[in-house]
Symmetry: C2
Subunit: 212 residues, 2 copies
């Protein structure tokens, strides 16, 4: 069976088995972390045979988790890219981004925060493959933010460091939003990040929407 095209006559799978495993794993690990997610739960919720999981991922849970992190990487990158593309001004784009994250978070009853943070913390220093995939995801996301910042008149030397803090603050604000079940941390983060970004512009752009 070719895996490129969608198999036409499958009973209940609009998407291939392997992909369904990865998506389910990614979603479950987003909500309950690496240790809290079992292989049998994955096979159950993905409606896939347990043996199929080990067929596609002979490396077991670690290999599957690594692939799930990479999937979450691409998925979150799309969200980020789309949210940032909605505004021309980088500072406004970041604010729009926090808004999008807030909507996602609230819409999932405050469950769906950053898809890899829990897994990252649990496996840091003890599962190099996963840690590597997490590091690449963060770098990927920073790159997307940096690309947006480069569209304005910010010194190139400042862009990369700003991208660091933008991603890190978004991470922290999402965590706080989940814990407090409120999108206020995200809104505050958006305003402060916008102010910080504007402070690095060469030409002063006093913007009414990013005051105090």
């Amino acid at each position: 069976m070719t895996r490129h095209a969608a198999p036409p006559a499958r009973p209940h799978a609009a998407v291939g088995t392997r992909e369904r495993i990865v998506r389910t794993t990614s979603r479950l690990m987003q909500r309950q972390g690496y240790e809290g997610t079992g292989i049998k739960q994955i096979s159950r919720e993905a409606d896939v045979a347990l043996s199929s999981v080990y067929h596609f991922f002979p490396g077991g849970k670690q290999e599957l988790a690594t692939e799930a992190v990479r999937h979450a990487d691409r998925e979150f990158a799309d969200i980020l890219h789309e949210a940032l593309a909605g505004e021309d001004d980088p500072a406004e784009a970041i604010i729009a981004c926090t808004g999008t994250l807030g909507v996602h978070l609230r819409g999932s009853d405050w469950f769906d925060g950053c898809p890899i943070t829990a897994t990252a913390l649990e496996t840091a220093g003890r599962a190099p493959d996963i840690q590597q995939a997490v590091a690449e995801a963060f770098e990927h996301w920073r790159g997307i933010v940096a690309d947006k910042l480069r569209q304005s008149d910010i010194d190139q030397d400042d862009v990369l460091e700003l991208a660091h803090t933008v991603i890190n603050t978004l991470e922290g604000a999402e965590l706080a939003a989940q814990v407090s079940r409120s999108d206020e941390p995200l809104r505050i983060a958006g305003r402060h990040l916008a102010r910080l970004i504007n402070s690095y512009r060469r030409t002063e752009t006093a913007d009414a929407t990013t005051h105090g």
Copy 2:
């Protein structure tokens, strides 16, 4: 037995049994999260009988985790308070704070990040007691930062929101530092937070150490 005073003639415990359980739990959950930490591992590493754990914490793992989060709250608050007290200027104090966190992190081979983040994410939305303790810890830490910020000429209306972003950015930077095994995210966060804080001052204080 009174629990207020330390029992003098205990065989091998410089600190009481209950306290030793809590400390061990806190340290283990900091490194491997809630799901990754087992009760039997706790009793083993704390050198305490398994039945003693359930004697002191009849509520089981959840009650123990809640107490461990509260312990970590106090411990991290002490670190925060001490680090901030070393500098008069609030912006400089935050930078000193990121330095302290970086030293702690590097000294533990990048294992000891924020003591409650992993637990917070794993239990968000499914263990209200733990989530509540986490929320109180964050609020506590924000209060400490806010107290420091109030010592300068920042508008009172801005202090609370700034404290939000300071804590959130520190959280995100610690995560990034753990994943990348480098204290650069923390140093960047320190500089950006200092710049953000200074931007909220009524009197301009051009400071050579917090430039671009």
